[in-house]
Each structure stands twice: as structure tokens, then as C-alpha cells.
């Protein structure tokens, strides 16, 4: 009688097999969040230990763990030399924390942007924030401001904010913010600022400054200190919490304005708030780590491919996935050609792209497209 079968055979996937070992909860959202964060959390801990243990100064694994725990608790660890303790406490740990924070910020910003624009190609930089940040940083280097590690981030943040205000001004021209205008204005301003970045680099005579600009643009964490880590990590965490709180509304936003409105959200206000949140997360990540491409675009898609599109688990798992991905990329960047360093932005693009293609091809039903 019916043209279609009543039930679809459920494919046995790794997730569905893993789910059987778990106590039954009636909600797939809760289950996916729990299992996903357990798996990603364990991987992040393993990645942290690996990242802290590896580097030019070799530190045995037990000492690494002891030193990390000692840093956290503020006591001194036995059987860890003071050099080892210093390397871990002052160099490697802040770098790890910064990488985690930046990855988290970028992935959450990407998830939000993809939902707001209902566009799978949206990434954190889509409304020109990161181009603005890049221009700010490059100008600071060109002027030669030095003396504080915070000069470049400060310039970058000013650049991001200016770009955001400019894009908002254009999008609000008609009185009400149009999402299409916001997107187009963002892309246009982004390419304009990109051109300004290139011009600034070309007009810089100082070769060292030019190198520094290229270096900064490729993204990296070599300048990480506790000062920068302590700025980025709380903002990334805070932004993630807000996005998780808003995750159900992000689901509704995907349906379209009228449906979202009729299901109870104030679309205009909510969307502006979310754009600002994503821009802040992007701006802060760019300011302290340069341009790290691909994380914000790929991580949410990868999570959606595995768990399905519900933002109530996608946002949190993307945050964890982004943190993990960037930390692994940074560890790879500083060990592959050690003692020299590759740039993190290069690694994320080189590894992330192919890895994502493999994931796309092995996942039978594409749940990713927005």
C-alpha cells in the first residue's frame, strides 16, 4: 500500500554500538552529549599530556603528569627537576591552554555562523571580523610598536571591532538588519580588508617586519604566556556556555525566520546577539593566535556528521572538538620539524581538509548539510 517502507533499517555505527553500553536515557540529546563529551574529554586529556611531554626538552611521562598536577595545585612536585618544572609551567602549559581556548572559540563561532546564515560554508571569518583583526595586527607590526606582547592582540581586537561595526552599519542601512545584506557586506568588507593587509605587507620595507607579518598571518601559539592564556581561555569558555544556553534557539533559527518566530524566539534580537558573540570569539582567537583557518568551518560539520544536527549537542561537542583539533595541530606543528616550527594554520588546513573528506566519504547518510 505505502510507497515507502514504514521503518528504515538503522545502520550499526560505532556510535550506536557504543550507546548500548550506556545506561538508558530517553533522550538522544543527553546520551549524545554525555558520550561525546566523555570521548572528546578523554582525548583532550591524552592530547594535553602528549603536548606537555613533547618538545626540545624531553620530559618523561610520569614527570609530566606530576609537574602538571603540581602546577595546578600550586605545590612543588617531587622528582621533577626545576628545569622540567619551569619548561612545563612557563612554556608548555600556557601554550596548551591558549591552543585549547582558541580552538574552542573558533569552533563555537563557526557553529553559530553556520546556523545564523543557514549556510554550510559559513566560517568564523565570514563577516570580516578576522580580516579586520589581521589588518589591525599587521598595522601594529608595520608601525613597529613593541614593548608589550599585548600590542599586536590589542591592534587586532581594534581591527576586528572596527570591521564588525562597519559591517553592521551597512547591514542596518535599511533600518532592519537583513541577513542577506549582513552576509554580503561581511564578504565584501572581508575582501577589502584582505586587500588592505596585502598592501600593508607589500609597502613594508623592513624584511624582518614583513616576515613577522607572514608568520602572524599563518597562525601560531609561540608567543603564549599565562597572560595571554588567561585572557583567551575564560572568554572562550564563557562564549561556549552562552552558545550552549542558546543552542535550542539555534535549532529554530535553522528553520527560517517565520518558523523560528512562531516557535517562540525573538529572531531579530537573538540573531544580532549571536553575531556579536561569534564575532567576539573570532576576534579574540585571531588576536592571540593569528589566522587559523578551517577549524571553525570543519569541526562543526565533523560533529554533525557523527551526531546529527541538533545544536543541543553540536555546540558543546564542537567546542571540545575544536579545542582538541587545535591542540593536536599545534603539537604537530612544533614537533614535525623540531626544533623549528611549522605554523598551526598550515597544519589545520593540511590535515583537516583530507581528514574531513575521509569522514564525508565514510559516513553513509550525510547529516551535515545545513
Amino acid at each position: 500500500m505505502r510507497a515507502r517502507p514504514r521503518t528504515q533499517p538503522q545502520p550499526t555505527t560505532l556510535t550506536s554500538r557504543a550507546l548500548r553500553f550506556f545506561p538508558r536515557t530517553d533522550s538522544a540529546v543527553v546520551r549524545k552529549t554525555l558520550i561525546g563529551s566523555l570521548i572528546l574529554g578523554a582525548l583532550i586529556i591524552a592530547a594535553i599530556v602528549t603536548a606537555v611531554a613533547t618538545g626540545p626538552v624531553d620530559i618523561p611521562l610520569p614527570n609530566t603528569v606530576r609537574a602538571v598536577l603540581a602546577t595546578i595545585s600550586g605545590e612543588s612536585a617531587t622528582s621533577v627537576t626545576s628545569t622540567q618544572q619551569a619548561v612545563i609551567e612557563r612554556i608548555r602549559l600556557p601554550r596548551v591552554v591558549l591552543a585549547l581556548g582558541v580552538g574552542m572559540a573558533l569552533a563555537v563561532a563557526g557553529t553559530i555562523m553556520q546556523a545564523i546564515f543557514r549556510n554550510p560554508l559559513a566560517d568564523p571569518g565570514i563577516i570580516g571580523t578576522s580580516a579586520g583583526g589581521a589588518l589591525g595586527a599587521v598595522i601594529v607590526i608595520a608601525i613597529g610598536l613593541s614593548g608589550s606582547v599585548l600590542w599586536i592582540p590589542a591592534g587586532s581586537i581594534i581591527g576586528s571591532i572596527s570591521a564588525l561595526l562597519l559591517v553592521f552599519a551597512i547591514a542596518f542601512l535599511g533600518g532592519r538588519m537583513s541577513i542577506a545584506t549582513l552576509l554580503l557586506a561581511g564578504v565584501a568588507i572581508g575582501s577589502l580588508l584582505g586587500a588592505a593587509v596585502s598592501t600593508t605587507i607589500l609597502l613594508t620595507d623592513n624584511i624582518t617586519a614583513q616576515r613577522e607579518m607572514f608568520f602572524w598571518l599563518a597562525g601560531g601559539f609561540e608567543g603564549a604566556t599565562w597572560t595571554t592564556a588567561r585572557i583567551v581561555a575564560p572568554i572562550a569558555l564563557f562564549g561556549t556556555v552562552i552558545a550552549v544556553v542558546a543552542s535550542r534557539d539555534l535549532n529554530l533559527l535553522l528553520l527560517g525566520d517565520d518558523e523560528a518566530r512562531s516557535l517562540g524566539i525573538n529572531v531579530g534580537v537573538f540573531r544580532i546577539a549571536m553575531v556579536i558573540l561569534a564575532a567576539v570569539l573570532t576576534g579574540i582567537a585571531v588576536a592571540f593566535a593569528g589566522i587559523i583557518s578551517f577549524v571553525g568551518l570543519i569541526v562543526p560539520h565533523a560533529i554533525r556528521l557523527v551526531t546529527g544536527p541538533d545544536h543541543r549537542h553540536v555546540v558543546l561537542l564542537s567546542a571540545l572538538g575544536g579545542a582538541l583539533f587545535v591542540l593536536l595541530a599545534d603539537t604537530a606543528a612544533r614537533t614535525i620539524i623540531s626544533p623549528a616550527e611549522l605554523r598551526v594554520g598550515i597544519i589545520t588546513a593540511m590535515v583537516g581538509g583530507p581528514a574531513f573528506i575521509v569522514l564525508l566519504m565514510t559516513t553513509k547518510t550525510s547529516r551535515s548539510s545545513l
Binding site: 505505502r2 515507502r4 517502507p5 514504514r6 521503518t7 528504515q8 538503522q10 536515557t25 530517553d26 533522550s27 540529546v29 543527553v30 543557514r118 544556553v245 535550542r248 535549532n251 529554530l252 535553522l254 528553520l255 527560517g256 525566520d257 517565520d258 518558523e259 518566530r261 512562531s262 516557535l263 517562540g264 524566539i265 525573538n266 554533525r304 546529527g308 544536527p309 541538533d310 543541543r312 547518510t365 547529516r367 551535515s368 548539510s369 545545513l370
Partner: protein, 288 residues
């Protein structure tokens, strides 16, 4: 994470107050009422000075040719669009002063078509339960039951695991109707609910909407193109043309040969059917 289903106090009280047998709320508060509504876009009045009332327990049809302002009127009534002039009251409360969360518990709206998104049919129908959940509350088994029941009524329960964007247009339309049922509002606005449905599901969907009005005392307001369906199922119809309201009343009084010729530009034979107190419309040809 299990939680009890929040009851809608408004609905519960109304059901006990009046019961399902009271069809029209004449004398009591109207389910929704619009006063002197105008929507002006550019230089043209899309909706021009329309006033109308919808009652609990009643299926109200909005008919009219393309561009008559039916969809715009429906969006204004559902609070999705601000009128340039006039105001809408829902159960006696000014719609503009109603917080969007309250509105979403009382009003359900079904658009002509849903956008492309990756949710499954069940996930989409469950979103109809979001307005009833607190911020961190996850849908309970009761919510899922309500969703599945709504899907069964619209004959889409078999698609629950399917992604909505793999369904046909008509199937998608039925899923959206199911979501509106699951939302359990007091007032239901549906925009061309049967346009892409096959004949069986056209009958089924309108019957479900009519039952929803009768059994739960919901006010249902539907934009319809098929005059025969409108005549057969609606308790009252509103005829719009060029943004203005031409007539309003029982289908048999509004849908006449003269009106069909004047407003739609179609020569038709309208036959009264004594038994169901309705009319049938045989379309003959465009009249001019």
C-alpha cells in the same frame, strides 16, 4: 532528565469552561480579532483595512486570488509581521504586547513550505514542543508521545527517522501540520495547508484541522485555494481581493457564481447542497 509536562493553564481552563460542544464563542472573548489592519509595503497596501474575528472551535477559511494579501494577513494575525496600522488581539490580549514565549504557546503557525535543513521529521515535530519546555529541559517521553500522535494524525509517523529534506513537498507539508498540532496552541494559523497534498491527504488534513477545532476548541484559520474544500470544511470564510475584505460569512453565502466571476475572474456553476448545508463549485472557464 525526566520532567512533567507543563500544562497550559489557559487551555485547561477553557476546555472545562466551555467544553468541546460550544462551537462559537459569541458573547465571550474571540479567539483572535483584527481591527482595521493595514500592511503597507512601498506604495501599495498589501492588506487594506481588514477587520475580522475568529472564534474558538471554528475553522475559518481565507480565500481569494493570488496577490490578495492572504499570506500577509495570516502572518500579521500570527504575530510574525507588524501591521502598519491596526492591531490584533489574541483571546483579548494585544498581540504586540505578548512576549514571544507566551505567543508561541498559544499560537501555532504553519508556513507554505519549510526551508532546507538537516533535521529528521520527528526532530522537526518535536520542535513544536520547545515552547512548552524550560530552557534546559529536554523533551520528555510525553512530548515524544504528543509528537508521534500528531504525526500519526497527519499520516507521517512512518517518516519519523527520515530527514525532512528527503521528503516530497506534500509529505513535508504534512510534517509541518503535525508540528503545529504538537504545539497544542489555542489558535492555529495555516497557510495553504493542502496545496501540495494528494486528494486523500487533502481530505484527511482538513478533517484533522476541523476535528482539532471541534474537539479541542481551537480556533483554526487556514488560507485555502480550493473553493470546494473551503466550502466543505470551513465554518466561515473570508474573501479577500487586492488586500481588502470583500465578504465574510458562511461558505454558502460568500461563494456565489457572481463573486467567483467578479473576484476570481472565473465562470463557474455553484450548486447548493442541501444536505451538508454547503455548496459545490464547478469551474468552467476564465471569464474574461
Amino acid at each position: 532528565m525526566t520532567a512533567t509536562l507543563p500544562r497550559n493553564p489557559l487551555l485547561a481552563s477553557r476546555l472545562t469552561d466551555r467544553g468541546p460542544s460550544s462551537i462559537s464563542a459569541v458573547g465571550g472573548a474571540a479567539a483572535f480579532s483584527a481591527k482595521d489592519l493595514s500592511v503597507r509595503i512601498g506604495n501599495s497596501n498589501i492588506v487594506d483595512d481588514v477587520s475580522l474575528v475568529g472564534n474558538f472551535g471554528e475553522l475559518l477559511g481565507i480565500i481569494g486570488p493570488n496577490g490578495a494579501g492572504k499570506t500577509t494577513l495570516l502572518k500579521v494575525l500570527a504575530g510574525l509581521l507588524k501591521p502598519s496600522l491596526g492591531c490584533v488581539e489574541i483571546d483579548g490580549v494585544d498581540l504586540e504586547k505578548m512576549p514571544s514565549s507566551t505567543r508561541s504557546r498559544q499560537l501555532a503557525y504553519v508556513p507554505q513550505i519549510t526551508g532546507a535543513h538537516p533535521f529528521t521529521a520527528l526532530e522537526l515535530v518535536l520542535m513544536g514542543r520547545y515552547p512548552h519546555l524550560r530552557r534546559f529541559q529536554i523533551e520528555s517521553e510525553d512530548d515524544t508521545e504528543i509528537a508521534i500522535e500528531a504525526m500519526e494524525r497527519m499520516d507521517v509517523a512512518q517518516f519519523k527517522g527520515r530527514r525532512v529534506d528527503t521528503l516530497s513537498g506534500g509529505e513535508r507539508q504534512r510534517v509541518l501540520l503535525a508540528r503545529a498540532l504538537a504545539q497544542r496552541g489555542d489558535v492555529l494559523f495555516v497557510d495553504e495547508p493542502i496545496t501540495s497534498l494528494d486528494i486523500k491527504h487533502q481530505l484527511l488534513a482538513l478533517q484533522v484541522l476541523k476535528d482539532e477545532a471541534r474537539d479541542r476548541s481551537v480556533a483554526v484559520c487556514a488560507v485555502l485555494h480550493d473553493l470546494n474544500m473551503a466550502a466543505r470544511f470551513c465554518d466561515r470564510v473570508v474573501l479577500l481581493a487586492e488586500g481588502g475584505m470583500i465578504d465574510e460569512g458562511e461558505p454558502g453565502c460568500v461563494i456565489t457564481e457572481r463573486r467567483v466571476a467578479e473576484v476570481f475572474g472565473v465562470r463557474a456553476r455553484v450548486t447548493r447542497r442541501a444536505r451538508s448545508n454547503g455548496v459545490t463549485v464547478d469551474l468552467i472557464e476564465p471569464s474574461d
